[in-house]
Symmetry: C2
Subunit: 338 residues, 2 copies
DNA sequence: CCTGGCACTCTGTGCGTTCGAGTGCCAGCA
DNA sequence: TGCTGGCACTCGAACGCACAGAGTGCCAGG
C-alpha cells in the first residue's frame, strides 16, 4: 500500500502537470509544495510510484507525468469535486433562465458548459424513453392525408405525415383524436402500445385501415424518437490540447462527428452519479488521449439524459467535475419548472 | 494585359500547388505541364505574375504560391466547374433519397457534402421567409393554456405554449382554429400579419384577449423562426489544412461555432448563382485563410436557403464547385418532391 | 521574344558540442 | 528503518556550422 506521503506526491505531480503541461521533477516539486522532505526522498517515492504504474517518464532524465492509472487514483481518492464560486453559480442561472424553449435550453447548456470548462461540451436531449405523452394531435391536411403531432412532457414535439389508405371524415378524425388522447395522455411511452392495441376494433370497418395506419405511425415515432439526439459545442477548445495537439485533434474530431460514439460515451455513465472515464478507459480508441466527465440530469429524481465534457486527460478534474455537476443540476431545475 | 501563356502558367501553378501543397518552381512546372517553353521563359512570366500580385514567394529562392488574387483570377477565368462523375451522381441520389424528414434531409446533405469535398460543409435550413403556411393548429392543454403548432410547406413544424388571459372554450377554440386556417393557409409569412389583423373583433368580448394573445404569439413565431438555423459537418477535414494547420485551425473552429458568422457567410452569396469567396474576401478575419463556396438551393425556382463548404484557399475549386452545385440541385429536387 | 548559362540566395538537414534538468544509487545519519 | 546530501550519469533541447539542393534574377546570344 502506498503511504500517505506518496499519495501526496502523486497529487502534487498531477496538480503541477495539469498546470504547467510539462513533466515535473523532484526538485521543482519540493519547491512548489511544502512536502517537508528533500528532493532525494521524493525521488525515491517517485521511483515507487513509477513501479506501481501511476506515473511515467517520457524519457530518461525527464520529469514524471501521470499515467491514466495515476489520474484514476487522483480522481478516486485524492481529489474532491470543486464547488463553483457563487458568481459562477449566478452566471449559470442567469444564462439558463433566459431560455425560451427546449432547443434553447440545450443550446445554452452546451455553450455554457464549454465556456465554463474550456473544453468540448456534449449535451444529450432529454430522452423520450421515460417520457410521458402530453398530447397527440391529428390534423387533416388533405382528404387522405393526415399529420400526427406528438407532444411530450419534456417539451419535445414530433410530427409525421400519414397517407391514409382511404379518405377519413372529420368526425372520425375528431373521434380518433379524442379516444387516443384519453388513453395515452400522461402515460409513458413504453405503455402506449398496450393501451391503443384494441382501438381499431371500435371503429367502422371503412375507417379501420386508417386508424391502424395512424397507430403504427405513432408507435414507430415513439420508438424512433427514443433514439437519442445530442449536440456538441466548444470544439475550438480542442486547440488547448497541448503541444502535441496537431496529432491528437484529428481522431477526436472524427469521434465527435459520430453521434453513435458520443452516445455510447455518455451512455457508459452510470445512472445518476458522475462518471469519469480516463484515457484508455474509453472504448473508442480515437479518444484514448481524452477524458470524459459525464453525469445524468433530469427534471425529477430520475435522469432523463446525460451531459458532459471531453477534454485532454491532462485536465483539471475537480474543477471540471464541479462545473459539470452544477450545470446538470441547474438544467434539471429549468426542465422541472417548465 | 496578361498574355495567354501567362494565364496558362498561372493555371499550372494553381493546379500544382493545390496538388502538392508546396511552392512550385519554374523547372518543375515545365516538366509537369507541356507549356512548350523553357524554364527561363516561365521564370520571366512568373516575375510578371508576381508584379501583378497573382503569385508570391514565401521567401527568396523558393517557388511561387498563388495569392488570393491569383485564385480569384483562376476561378473567374481559368477554371470551369467540374461536373461529377455519374457514379458520384448516383451515390448522391441514393444517399439523399433515403431521408425520412426535413431534419434527415439536412443532416444527410451536410454529411454528403463534407464527404464529397473532404471539407467542412455548412447547410442552412430552408428559410421561412418565402415559405407559406400549410396549417395552424391550436390545442387546449389546460383550461387557460394552449399550444400553437405551425406547419410550413417546407415541412418545418414550430410549436409555442400560450398562457391565456382567460379560459377559452372548446367551441371558441374550434372557431378560432377554423377562421385562422381559412385565412392563412397557403399564404406567405409576410402576408400573415395583414390577413389576421381584424380577427379579434369578430369574437365575443370575453375571448378577444385570448385571440389577441394567440395572434401575437403566432406573429412572433413567424418573425423568430425567420431567423435561420444551420448545421455544419466534416470539421475533422480541417486537419487537411496543410502543414500550418495548427495555427489556422483555431480561428476557423471559433468562427464555425458562431452561427451568426456562418449565416453572414452564406448570406453574402448572391441569389441563385454560385459564390466563391477567397481568403481575405471573407469579412470575418478568422476565415482569412479559407475560401467559401456557397450556392442557394430550393424546391422551386426560388432559392429558399444556402449551402456550401469552407476550406483552405488552397482547394480544388472546380471539383468543389461541381460537388456543391450538384448537391444543391439534388436537395432541391428532394424538397420539391416531398 | 525565347533560351541557356551562371552567380547568388535562401531553407532544410545532418552533425557535433554544450548545457542543464533530472535521475539512480550509495553512504551516512537519526 | 527511513531520510538526506552528494555524485556520476543520461538524455533531450539548443546552438553553431557546413553543405547540398532548389529556385531565382539577370544577361548575352540566337
Amino acid at each position: 500500500m502506498l503511504s500517505e506521503r506518496r499519495l501526496e506526491v502523486l497529487r502534487a505531480i498531477v496538480q503541477d502537470y495539469v498546470g504547467t503541461e510539462e513533466p515535473v521533477g523532484s526538485k521543482a516539486l519540493t519547491e512548489r509544495h511544502s512536502l517537508g522532505v528533500s528532493p532525494a526522498t521524493v525521488r525515491n517515492d517517485m521511483a515507487v510510484l513509477e513501479d506501481e504504474g501511476f506515473i511515467a517518464q517520457p524519457h530518461t532524465s525527464a520529469g514524471r507525468i501521470p499515467t491514466d492509472k495515476g489520474y484514476r487514483l487522483f480522481v478516486d481518492r485524492l481529489a474532491g469535486v470543486k464547488p463553483l464560486s457563487s458568481p459562477e453559480r449566478r452566471a449559470i442561472q442567469n444564462f439558463l433562465d433566459g431560455a425560451v424553449d427546449l432547443d434553447d435550453v440545450v443550446g445554452r447548456t452546451v455553450r455554457l458548459l464549454a465556456q465554463l470548462t474550456r473544453q468540448v461540451a456534449v449535451v444529450q436531449y432529454p430522452s423520450l424513453t421515460r417520457s410521458t405523452v402530453r398530447h397527440v394531435e391529428l390534423l387533416s391536411l388533405a382528404p387522405a392525408r393526415l399529420m400526427l403531432v406528438l407532444i411530450t412532457d419534456t417539451g419535445r414535439v414530433e410530427q409525421r405525415m400519414i397517407d391514409c389508405p382511404a379518405p377519413f371524415g372529420d368526425t372520425s378524425l375528431a373521434d380518433l383524436r379524442a379516444r387516443l388522447n384519453s388513453r395515452v395522455v400522461g402515460r409513458r411511452f413504453a405503455d402506449v402500445p398496450r393501451l391503443v392495441q384494441d382501438l381499431p376494433e371500435s371503429f367502422e370497418t371503412e375507417d379501420r385501415g386508417t386508424v391502424s395506419t395512424v397507430l403504427s405511425v405513432l408507435l414507430e415515432t415513439l420508438v424512433e424518437e427514443t433514439e437519442e439526439r445530442l449536440i456538441i459545442g466548444g470544439t475550438s477548445n480542442l486547440t488547448r490540447f497541448g503541444h502535441d495537439f496537431p496529432v491528437m485533434i484529428r481522431p477526436v474530431l472524427e469521434a465527435l462527428e459520430e453521434q453513435v460514439v458520443l452516445l455510447k460515451l455518455l451512455g457508459e455513465a452510470t445512472d445518476s452519479g458522475m462518471t469519469v472515464r480516463i484515457g484508455h478507459e474509453n472504448a473508442h480508441e480515437g479518444l484514448n488521449a481524452t477524458s470524459v466527465v459525464a453525469v445524468g440530469y433530469g427534471s425529477g429524481d430520475e435522469a432523463v439524459a446525460k451531459l458532459g465534457v471531453v477534454g485532454p486527460t491532462r485536465m483539471d478534474y475537480p474543477g471540471t467535475m464541479g462545473a459539470v455537476r452544477a450545470v446538470a443540476r441547474y438544467v434539471g431545475q429549468i426542465l422541472a419548472d417548465s
